[in-house]
Amino acid sequence: MSKAIVTPLTQALAEGKLTREELRAFMQRSNGPGLRHLALWVVLLACTTTLITLAWNSWLIWPAMFLQGIVLVHHFSLQHECVHYTVFRTRWLNDLVGQICGLIIILPHRFFRYEHCDHHTYTQLTGEDPELIPLPETFGQYLLYLSALPYWKAKFTEVFRHACGRLSDAELRFIPKVEQQAVFWDARRMLIVYGAAVVAMAATGWWGLIWYWLIPLFLGEPVMRFVRMTEHVGRPTVAQMSENTRTNIVSAPMRFLCWNMNYHAEHHYVSSVPFHALPRLHEKLKDHIFVETGGYLAAHRDILRQIMQRKSGT
């Protein structure tokens, strides 16, 4: 008998944590919740953009750009949902919105999709999970990660490598041959768009995109690094989904910003469940997963405690 691979979902079904009927109900998709969330998202972006305009000739432009940056970097959360086709029922809408998000945060959508597949296959397994963030060994390493400098270095290296038609050994493992040229052209198109934006700004003398988009993006990225660390960092580097992933209970505004991705363990258990159903899935699975009730801050306290314990143990 041919057998399916064991996944967190098959385990959950086999162990009775979830019935097939419940699974079917949780997976149901529609365009309404995603479109409503997206509409509010655009309103929020309009508000933070307006703040930058109002603060243009004062030092207040810096906090305004930071606020804009916090929203901009959370396009990662929306793109992540689009990668899973769990924002809209209409599949091409997920592709379109995901591509736009990727353009905004300099993360080509197709490449991220393939990389993220391996993250779900090998979650938190050292040497196999391409998105694994190791537990920092020192407080200095922790701060360096949060600065987002290593992140941007890796991302720019990645985009230029792909634009030059090359893949790293790790990337060769998860990008099939038939898609490699498409990945290279995605990176080239992204560089062309960014280059065209710079040329257009130089030609018109209006450098607004720098202030409305790029500086906020770099100011905001540490917030996304802060959020992303809470998903797996400090959890055991083992295959058990009940152990290796952290769900964080956070406030409604944060849930809005991250498209419910704070319910991260639930997402890893059943990645086909749309973002709007994750709170309901949480109620079903919360006794079988690791839940940090104190939210992002408590998760970071846990991470810092582990760093300090490791330091004192050596």
Partner: protein, 105 residues
């Protein structure tokens, strides 16, 4: 010796999950049977990308989505419609005879 494909009983129509995907075993094979707006279709149940069971995936219209990576296939002809699925999945002819779904294997 005859080597042609034969119609094999799979499951009673009344036992199918309506507008969804149903898992059946025929011999050593795991088969997915899809109840779609245009009739019944069948394929191998395991995703040809990562080996996950498509019968636990999201099914909508004529598209089955793998529960592990959300790669997707059109169940009518097996064509991949979303990455990371890049190769067609194997599909089988189906028919209903006397209330029984049959698959040609």
């Amino acid at each position: 010796m005859a080597t042609g494909k034969q119609w094999r009983d799979a499951i009673r129509v009344s036992e199918l999950e309506q507008n969804w995907v149903t898992r059946v075993e025929i011999g050593t094979r795991l088969i997915a049977i899809y109840d779609t707006p245009s009739g019944l279709y069948a394929s191998l149940a395991l995703c040809n990308h990562g080996g996950a069971d498509l019968c636990d995936g999201y099914f909508d219209g004529h598209v089955i989505e793998c529960p592990l990576h959300q790669g997707a296939f059109d169940v009518r002809d097996g064509k991949p419609v979303s990455a990371p699925a890049t190769r067609p999945m194997r599909v089988f002819e189906t028919r209903v005879q006397g209330g029984m779904v049959q698959i040609r294997l």
